[in-house]
């Protein structure tokens, strides 16, 4: 969070409220979990398929 604003001066940038910061953090965690799950899924499928993972027929 930026703190370089003089006392009593209105900041020129958007300052998130506590609720907005909490919502953004929850969304960020959800995106991280989804990406992590995707990595794990690709890893497991690679183990399951073995070398055939490169074989993708229609």
């Amino acid at each position: 969070m930026r703190t370089d604003v003089a006392k009593g001066e209105k900041p020129q940038w958007i300052v998130l409220t506590e609720e907005q910061r909490r919502a953004r953090r929850a969304r960020s965690i959800a995106i991280a979990l989804a990406l992590g799950a995707l990595v794990i899924l690709f890893y497991i499928v690679t183990l399951v398929k073995g070398p055939a993972v490169l074989n993708r027929p229609l």
Partner: protein
């Protein structure tokens, strides 16, 4: 000026207000984004996709089966989010949909569009890379059909919107089948037809009790354009057509007698309820009859697909050939 065109003009005004509303930093929760994916519709899509996957003659590894279902679920969610992005104006004017995240101002239209597009791209790519490109192509077509053909084109232009658009909801068993086999055959097409013929009586039974809202939103649903009496006649016609279509997997030798009897009895019960709706007196009686048919139609689809699933499971367990 007709009721529908007046509604369409009002919808345009709501759309302009939604687009020009000043945006505060988002307060959207993870739950709001989940709601964008229409979880209830998604659960039905996953179930029918699962049945398509399980009744296929080739067995798929459980991990790949899970991946296919996950992609079908996410693809359905993507289509739902893109539908809510495009229909935000009419959603805001209908009681049934006014509590969705965009009309409530919790998610901006642009955010919903980006979310839907990202999910669509990921679901199709992952299904293609990890399971089958044939299934991925079908999933991509389903999303395209639901968003572009149904939502953007048909929904606001013809009372046959949900008849043709219903195809989008009927594709998931075909995607499941294609994920397991890498191709298609007659059986998944029969599953497609069951859901296709099931959609009009299901959706029109719902829309009969929301006619005024659809008219206000400018959506030319059949009850708005042709009236309640004609809609009830059409509901009965499609329900009658559903009886042989539902039992077709048995007639054609793809399912056993238990399935055939279940499909015929459930189909007959649906016709009875549709006939009761047709004969119901205007007012509370008709409203109740429409609600009953709507509720039963959900049970119909669940039971028919569940029996197919159980029969296929038993066949796999006993090793019996079809």
């Amino acid at each position: 000026m007709s009721l529908v065109s007046e509604g369409a003009e009002f919808a345009g005004e709501v759309q302009r207000k939604l687009a020009s509303a000043p945006r505060e930093p988002s307060l959207a929760t993870v739950g709001d984004y989940f709601a964008l994916m229409k979880p209830r519709v998604m659960s039905l899509v996953v179930f029918t996709g699962f049945v398509g996957l399980m009744v296929a003659p080739l067995h798929i590894h459980p991990v790949l089966g899970f991946t296919a279902l996950l992609c079908i679920a996410v693809g359905a969610g993507a289509a739902g989010a893109l539908n809510m992005w495009y229909d935000a104006d009419i959603d805001a004017m209908m009681r049934r949909t006014s509590r969705r995240p965009i009309p409530q101002g919790r998610i901006a239209q642009g955010e919903a569009f980006a979310f839907g597009m990202v999910l669509a791209a990921f679901s199709v790519a992952v299904l293609g890379l990890l399971v089958s490109w044939a299934a991925a192509a079908l999933l991509a077509f389903t999303i395209f059909f639901y968003v572009v053909v149904y939502t953007v084109w048909l929904k606001r232009s013809t009372p046959q919107n949900i008849v043709i658009g219903g195809a989008a909801g009927a594709f998931p068993p075909m995607i499941g089948w294609a994920a397991a086999t890498g191709g298609l055959s007659v059986e998944p097409c029969l599953l497609f037809l069951i859901t296709f013929f099931w959609t009009p009586p299901h959706f029109w039974a719902l829309s009969l009790n929301h006619t005024d809202e659809y008219a206000r939103a400018g959506v030319p649903m059949l009850p708005v354009v042709a009236g309640a009496a004609e809609t009830r006649r059409q509901v009965l016609r499609y329900s009658i057509a559903l009886v042989p279509v539902g039992a077709a997997p048995w007639f054609l030798g793809y399912a056993d007698m238990v399935y055939g009897m279940t499909a015929l009895s459930a189909g007959t019960l649906m016709v009875v309820l549709a006939q009761r709706l047709r004969k119901a007196p205007e007012g509370r009686g008709a409203q109740r009859a429409a609600q009953q048919l709507f509720a039963f139609s959900i049970l119909y689809l669940f039971v028919v697909f569940a029996v197919l699933l159980v029969e296929s499971g038993l066949r796999g367990f006993t090793g019996a050939a079809r």
